[in-house]
Structure formats: structure tokens, C-alpha cells
Symmetry: C2
Subunit: 199 residues, 2 copies
């Protein structure tokens, strides 16, 4: 990723937070850079092309941050991944950014390329949660009877809901982290082995 | 609700499914009615005014359907309420309608009146789920240690996520119903009382 791309992507982030997806114009993005609108058009034909590149850029950064997650136990890694997803990269523009992303999600049925990019995020999260659940089962931390794939779907659905409610009704995303800790970890927790008793 | 209002609301539903929220024009709605665009403007100044009325109309119908829910047990009522929320009113336009609603949710931060209307739906669901959890605790069906209000928040967050993922990545909403049955009912189920044993 060269310096110009990096600058354009950062400018897209700022302009998207300020104007939202629907109202965003190439001009708004150019205004956040040292470049002219013509330079912007030299790199990207249209606003939508630029946003495809932006989602790709976001995905690469998100994947890197996901891969950096560590934690002694599967429970710690689970909670860290939820926190990573729910915590805005920049506190001051968190809600604006989530709103723009929700607008892009609403483009899913109309734009196959956006949908494919959104599926990339979805699959990354599903895959990582599934691995964490499996790890926790191997270590004896999590209940071996839980099926990892549907549990991962459940968690990803919950995270999507947290983002949506933040935007729609203004519910703080952090509250979902707390609910998550309470309920999902409860569902996963390995039962303390019962003493062998007569049937 | 008079006949004209009813016709205009149905036309709004159809036009919203066809065009989405952002692209929708008063003209598109008028075309779905026997009325002229002038008549439409006589009743509602702008598209946004009409959509406020439409959300109010949806809310009244949704509240009626929620109040009609019955079921012998709290578990049955819980599952019925989830199904009601996740099952589109009209199968053939389910995804289009959810998409338009997601677009409106993304207006939450920009439009206080939309946000207040969205909160009405949110509160109705929270309230009804809370009552069902309490009922189940009274009847001994559900674990008395579960706190009804955060559990209701958890369920409503999950339902929001199911709708969002349907739109964003095309995941069938019905799958959330199955996950729900498995996990949430699991969290709520009253433990079979253990035999009293020495500490």
C-alpha cells in the first residue's frame, strides 16, 4: 500500500464519518486530502469504486488486528475478539463510522460486490470464533457438546445486532460486551463433571 | 384509520420494497395508488413525513400482532414472539422490506423522529420479552437466577443481528430462529433441582 492510497483511504474514513454513505461525494473525500479531485478520479473512477477499495483496506487492517489477538485461555481470546469488534477504532467517530457501515450493509442486496466484501468480514469472524470454541473444547474450558459452527453464527449474529442497535436506537455497544460475557461464556462453560452415579 | 390512509400505507409498503428508502420518491408511491401525486401531497408534505406515518402504521399493526400471541407455556410464547419478528409479513417481499427498514435504521443518528419511532419498536420487544421471562420464572419453567431485563436486551440484540445479516450477507433469517431455540431456551431453562447433598 503506497502513501497516496493510504492518504486516500484515511480521507475516505473521515469523509464517510462526516457525510455518511448516501450523501458522500468524491469532492468531500478530496477535501480531506492534499490531492485534487482530478487526482482522486485518476485513481478511482467513481465513489463506489473508491468504497470497494476502502472496504478492502478496512478488511486487511481488521484481519491483521484479529490475528494479533492473544490471550492465555480460549475465554480470554473470545472476549478479546468481541471487544475488538465492538470497540471503535477511533472513539470520537465511532457512531458515525458504524452508521456508514450500516448504510453499506443496506446496499448488500443491490450491490453484489459490497455483499461479497461484507461476506469476507462475516466469514473471517465465523472462522475465528469457531477456532476459539474448538480450542476451548480441546483445553477442557468449553463444553464439548457445543457445536462450534452454529455457536460462531450465534455470536456473529449478536455482534451485528449490537452494531445495528447502536445506530438505530443509540444503545451503547459496550453493553453488548457485558451481555456477551454473561450469556455466551455461560453457554460455553464446561459443566463441572458430576460424580459418577447410578443411572 | 380511514380507507385513503390504508391505501396510502399499503402503497408505501410496496414502493419501499421496490425502490428502497434512499431512492424512494412521492411519485413512486402515488403510482401504487388510485390517487394522484397531488392527493398524496395533500396528506403528507414530504416523503419523510409520509414515512413517519408509515412507521407509526407499522408499529400499530406490529403491536396488535404481538398482543395476539398466545401459547400454553412461556417457552412457546417466547418462540412465537421470535418467529413473529423474524417472519416477513409477505414472503415474496421479505428481503426488500428488511432492507428498507435497515436503511431507515441507518437514519437513526440523523433523524430524531425516526430514532424515537425505532425506540418504540425496541421498547415493545424488550417489554414483552421481559414479561415472558418473568412469567416463565413464576411458573418454574425458567431459571429464577436469570435477570429478565438484560436477557430481554440480549434477545432483542440477537433479533436485530438476524435482520442485519439477512440484508448484508443474505443469511436466511429463519436460521436465527433455530439458533435461538437452541441457545436462548438453554440459557433460560430451569435447572432440574439437584438432590440435597452435603456441602
Amino acid at each position: 500500500m503506497d502513501e497516496t492510497t493510504d492518504e486516500l483511504m484515511e480521507a475516505t474514513y473521515v469523509a464517510l464519518c462526516e457525510h455518511g454513505y448516501a450523501a458522500l461525494r468524491m469532492k468531500d473525500i478530496a477535501e480531506e486530502t492534499s490531492k485534487s479531485k482530478a487526482t482522486l478520479h485518476y485513481h478511482y473512477d467513481t465513489k463506489v469504486e473508491l468504497l470497494y477499495a476502502f472496504l478492502e483496506y478496512l478488511y486487511e487492517r481488521f484481519e491483521r488486528r484479529v490475528d494479533e489477538i492473544d490471550g492465555e485461555t480460549a475465554t480470554e481470546r473470545l472476549v478479546a475478539l468481541v471487544d475488538l469488534f465492538l470497540t471503535p477504532r477511533r472513539e470520537e467517530t465511532g457512531e458515525e463510522f458504524q452508521t456508514a457501515i450500516l448504510e453499506i450493509k443496506a446496499q448488500g442486496p443491490y450491490d453484489e460486490r459490497f455483499r461479497e466484501q461484507l461476506r469476507q468480514f462475516d466469514r473471517l469472524l465465523l472462522d475465528r470464533f469457531e477456532v476459539i470454541v474448538e480450542d476451548g473444547q480441546e483445553s477442557g474450558e468449553f463444553d464439548a457438546d457445543v457445536d462450534p459452527a452454529p455457536m460462531a453464527e450465534f455470536v456473529v449474529t449478536l455482534l451485528n445486532g449490537a452494531q445495528t442497535r447502536t445506530v438505530a436506537v443509540g444503545r451503547p455497544t459496550g453493553r453488548t460486551g457485558e451481555e456477551f460475557a454473561e450469556y455466551v461464556v455461560d453457554l460455553l462453560r464446561a459443566e463441572v463433571p458430576e460424580e459418577v452415579s447410578s443411572p
